[in-house]
Amino acid sequence: MPVSPDIERSMLNGQELKSQKKREEWVLLGLSLPAIFVIALVVILPVGWLFYLSFVDGHGSFSLEHYQKMVEYKSYARVFIATFKVSALTTLICIVLGYPIAYFLAALPSRWSGIFMLAVLLPFWTSLLVRTYAWLVLLQRKGLLNDLAIQIGLWDSPVKLVHNMTGTLIGMAHIMLPFLVLPLYGAMKKIEPDMMQAASNLGASPVRAFGSIYLPLSISGLAAGSLIVFVLCLGFYVTPAVLGGGRVVMVATQITAILEHQFNWGAASALGVVLLLATVLVLYLAGRFFKFDTALFGKR
């Protein structure tokens, strides 16, 4: 059966389109090669090396001794629990504090929100160490806060605000807050104010309108922010080390202790591997509740 000229033309066109698509794919691949190369160099290779080291003993042969030790001594399990606990609590505090801040910023006219945004960002640009030690000065036994509170009669003897979990959480929440507020603000800024007005017009109470419209529309930003805060917290070293006073031992602290005092790369690598796997697991589980790809890449 002879092919009609129309179909023939469209087939030719189809082939042309196909090869064009192929070419485009190659160009895209070529363009992203540098990025792939960099990721392989700074992520995949080192993580692979970490895995390798964690399975090698002091004599260079394959061994599970580093993982066995994690089971043998209770400190490892405790340190992991403490790490996830501190990270989860910090994230929670950041959500409670950060949501109203982002809401406030998004509701302000832009020239005002710029000024208030600066207030959120300014500490962000200050050195982490400076902020951490500033909290120490404020919170310690004879620190500014205790002195002031005793002078005005709020309490009579110094309250223990630092060198414990309280101080660690205060410091970490302060440092992490911008990481939550920024993506959340971005998501809230995209919500049309008209939608809330429409909801009220249709008779929804402010609480109902917030619950059915504002919250679901901002949840992607909230999820992204919480995710960033939680993951950053897992590897945190300086702030818990300074404000925890040795009572809050997190994975990073334990890794430092093993490296500094035992020179044992294998054991430290094993800790790193377990932390990485535990993080991936937690993210996978969380991903079943939230669509992180939506949150992170804005796909609908």
């Binding site: 001594y73 400190s75 036994r141 040795g246 500094e260 005092h261």
Partner: protein, 357 residues
């Protein structure tokens, strides 16, 4: 204006080329000397490094953050940039066992006047220090006064000496010995008891008993000083020189050498140090009595070179405050490096268990 700038730039360029050529052929490259922060590094700068550099003509790069683990990392990754590194005696022994250190050339470094136990094949003693118990003198009185704490048993006695304590964080060095002495073990039996797992656990349990009163675990000598200056804790373990310097800065702090742990710091050279020969000469220079004699003026750590006691101009009271002074040595218990070589890893695991509770 622009022309001037250009001229300057040209001059600078020619200058730097000339300098580069010269440095290759005439002057030796500066060596990198790494010490710790706070008053310790400053004391070494003032007593040893600056003058020795001037007198020997050896230029030095001074860096802080000395650590044997970083040294081993440099050695294992073939990227050694350090020439001389300060370390505790135990750290040096561990790093040497891992093959991270260069042997000291004792035909260059003269240790004939050194105390015999204060140098090894891989490190040359720089100073003698003591791990002591220190306290807030406003709270418990001046050292030597009738009611002041005197022994590790007093450190543990929170009824007689109510208040907060501070103890070592994340490192077991010098942490178990005091606990056993507080538990009634005589100083000369401490390492015997610690040579079994049960003995280590006995020490850990004793610290566990005190833990509710330990408000802060300290990480560094600088932190010991800061905690006492701020009045954050009432009684603390730590290195005697740090407390003397904190006192000079106005801290209300005193300490006793009674039952203290006698230990030393030393200089080690990473295996494959880039300027090995020059650094060895510099090590020989700073080990001379004339420089060590100045150390007590800056920090109360004792010289390792006996001759330093002869040539120093330091007053008698200052010399008597040094841990290696003959008057103080009998009060203390020398740290046993063999025990650390054999048991440190296990002890650290058990100590970390206690800290993570």
């Amino acid at each position: 204006m622009i022309n001037n700038l250009k001229k300057d730039a040209r001059g600078l360029f020619i200058g730097s080329v000339v300098a580069l050529l010269c440095s290759g052929s005439v002057a030796a490259e500066p060596i990198t000397v790494v010490s710790w922060g706070g008053s310790y590094g400053a004391a070494q700068d003032n007593a040893l490094f600056n003058d020795a550099s001037k007198n020997s003509g050896i230029e030095i790069n001074r860096e802080s953050g000395a650590s044997m683990s970083k040294t081993c990392l440099q050695v294992e990754s073939n990227s050694v940039s350090w020439d001389l590194v300060v370390t505790g005696s135990g750290g040096a022994a561990a790093a040497a066992a891992k093959g991270c250190l260069e042997k000291i050339d004792y035909s260059v470094v003269d240790v004939s006047d050194f105390y015999p136990n204060l140098y090894t094949d891989y490190c040359v003693g720089s100073d003698v220090f003591a791990t002591v118990m220190a306290w807030n003198t406003d709270k418990y009185g001046e050292p030597g006064s009738a009611n002041a704490p005197k022994s590790w048993a007093d450190f543990w006695d929170v009824e007689k000496f109510p208040g907060t304590r501070s103890y070592r964080a994340n490192n077991v060095d010098g942490a178990l010995e005091p606990a056993l002495m507080a538990d009634g073990v005589p100083a000369d039996k401490v390492y015997e008891v610690l040579s079994t797992r049960a003995g280590i656990e006995r020490a850990i349990n004793k610290i566990r008993e005190l833990k509710p009163h330990i408000a802060v675990f300290w990480e560094s000598g600088a932190m010991q000083a800061q905690l006492m200056k701020d009045g954050e804790v009432d009684m603390i373990t730590g290195w005697n020189g740090r407390f003397d310097n904190a006192k000079k800065d106005g801290a209300k702090v005193g300490y006793t050498f009674n039952q203290a742990l006698l230990d030393y710091d030393c200089f080690a050279m990473p295996k494959g140090a880039p300027n090995k020969e020059t650094a060895m000469k510099f090590l020989a220079e700073i080990s001379k009595a004339e420089y060590q004699a100045n150390l007590p003026f800056h920090i109360t750590y004792g010289p390792t070179n006996k001759m330093a006691y002869e040539v120093t101009t330091a007053p008698k009271e200052l010399l008597e405050a040094l841990p290696s002074h003959p008057k103080n040595v009998p009060l203390m218990m020398p740290v046993n490096l063999d025990w650390y070589a054999n048991h440190r890893a296990e002890a650290l695991e058990l100590y970390m268990e206690l800290l993570s509770e």
